[in-house]
């Protein structure tokens, strides 16, 4: 089974803080990491490979420094790594991103399954997985929390829904996005780390993937950011005072009429 895992390098969003004085994101000490959901996609791919044989290729579109993350993916069990990188990709929205990834995947050639994280923690759009499936004209399942059964031609899986879950059967090739519940990602093995050091990462440019330059980056994007600003938080902040039991009594008095 040939599996492609799409991974993205993102700033660790939970460490991104708003500087109250300048009203800008303080990125000091914020690390570039592998998108956490993609880590679960990679782990699931490696598990499928271990059970059924095959190869796992990690694919990323991003700046040259994303190479580091791809090496980490190899240390966690990926066999091959492809970085699609070009200044022409800058400013790409999800439409231009799915175009670029689809062209790169056509270069990589045949595959049985594509796995992605459910969303990236920087943009939080969750649009690249389904958009890419449509570009490649393959079946798509979002929010996969368990792969129950896998043969050469079909997969049975559970997808998380707002009110429970669905058990689905999908013909291959297909694309899934996965949620965290699907597995517990492994830490890199020593052997994996050795392999990651040595591996030759395939690098592809816009020309290599035979992309129409009109469809790339900002130029190829259908959406445009017109304004970026800080969220407004409600500024209430009223603190109760006194001993614990006094505060509880005050709170009880305030809440009782509301119940």
């Amino acid at each position: 089974m040939k599996i492609i895992v799409c991974v993205k390098q993102v700033p660790d969003a939970k460490d991104v803080r708003l500087d109250p004085k300048t009203n800008t994101l303080s990125r000091e000490g914020v690390q570039a990491i592998m998108n956490p959901y993609d880590r679960h996609a990679l782990e699931e791919a490696v598990r499928l490979k271990e059970q059924h044989g095959g190869t796992v290729t990690v694919l990323s579109m991003g700046p040259p420094q994303a190479e580091e993350m791809l090496r980490e993916a190899v240390s966690c069990g990926a066999d091959e790594a492809v970085l699609v990188s070009d200044r022409a990709f800058a400013g790409a929205d999800t439409w231009a991103t799915t175009y670029t990834l689809a062209m790169a995947i056509k270069k990589i050639d045949d595959f049985d399954l594509i796995l992605c994280g459910k969303q990236a923690i920087d943009g939080d759009t969750a649009q690249v997985g389904p958009g890419l499936a449509e570009r490649l004209d393959i079946p798509f399942v979002a929010y996969v929390r368990k792969i129950n059964d896998c043969t050469a031609s079909t997969i049975r899986a559970e997808r998380l829904m707002d009110d429970g879950y669905d058990l689905v059967e999908v013909p291959l090739p297909a694309l899934f996005t996965v949620v965290k519940e699907i597995n517990e990602p492994r830490i890199p093995s020593l052997k994996g780390k050795m392999k990651a050091k040595k591996i030759d990462i395939t690098k592809l440019t816009a020309v290599d993937i035979e992309a129409d330059l009109e469809q790339l980056g900002l130029k190829g994007s259908t959406t445009q950011v017109v304004k970026v600003f800080s969220p407004e938080l409600r500024g209430e902040r009223s603190m109760l005072a006194g001993t614990a039991s006094e505060q509880v009594a005050q709170l009880y008095a305030k809440l009782s009429p509301l119940l």
Partner: protein, 397 residues
Amino acid sequence: MLQIDIEACIGCGVCESTCTFGAIKVEGGIAVVGETCTLCGSCVDVCEVGALSIKREEKTVQSNLADWSGVWVYAECRHGKLAPVALELLGAGRKLAEKRGVPLSAVLLGSKIEGMAEELIAYGADKVFVVDDPALASFTDDAYGNALSALAKKHKPEIILAGATAIGRSFIPRVATTLATGLTADCTDLAIRDEDGALLQTRPAFGGNIMATIICPHTRPQISTVRPLVMKPLARDAARKGEIITMNLDPALLKPRVKVLESVVEDLDRVNLSEADIVVAGGRGLENEKGFAMIRELADVLGGAVAASRAAVDSGWIPYPHQVGQTGKTVAPKIYIACGISGAIQHLVGMQSADTIIAINRDADAPIFDVATYGIVGDVFEIVPMLIAKFKDRKCA
């Protein structure tokens, strides 16, 4: 590309301090742009000497914008029930349609959906397009995506709104890709720009740390998924009149490649978190899953639902469906009680529209207190049991 006029640049550094992405630096008295630039344009707006510009080349592929008219709401239903977000979107869509001077339509896809179209009219739709077909009994991306795309190609709406639910966020990206147009995910605010009637779509990004307003300038329809519980539905008016249009689509379009073998509704809680009037939430301060037993007890006494911060879910103390925040559910209850939650922005964006917020935390500097109607600095293991006892007595009295 961001262009920097090195003749005009005075190296003042305003752009550097404005850039939320750390992409621009003043080096040797001149601004230099790096790889992390997303071309958001914030720096262009603040540059006092006009040294910065973004070259936007005209798109070669464009829709003829005037051909597209009307506002559509995808009215989600599952297991025989309309999703509450469908009614919220009719409320939001009504305002947009009135501003644009166009009709508001709902699109209803499913099987055995009698009576729902009338309900959508009562909540503000002028027209309801109905596709009632056994092939749509279960949600599949293929069939739902093909159906909505086919309807949109035929009737050409300028705006399509859908709920940012599991279903909406799964199949709407396929629709946008099929129609070769832009899509903005998980919007929390929608407005019409006065100059040109463009849809201004505002959404949180970076875990809620920044807000971005996005437009879809060259293609139609403009499509947004909208976060549930943010927009307000109109009051139900059974006397409202509207038109119900039954559509028959090519059966080939409704043949999904993915088969749904089983659809399971999980009873997570006695009370549905998104619809609960009272929510009691726990975070890292609860220390372990036993801490949640106490939270559940308080919720039970108050007749509320249990929620959690991402930290608590990531620690494995409570399952993901209870998570509130940017990557979890949004809630807007009458009362939200946050116990041992520090209040990372990604949590605050999911609960700050609650009417009354109570925060209990050991750390007086915790950001949760900034949004608290009533804050108590103290030990949750001392305060919460006292609250449980008080409200138990009240119940007995």
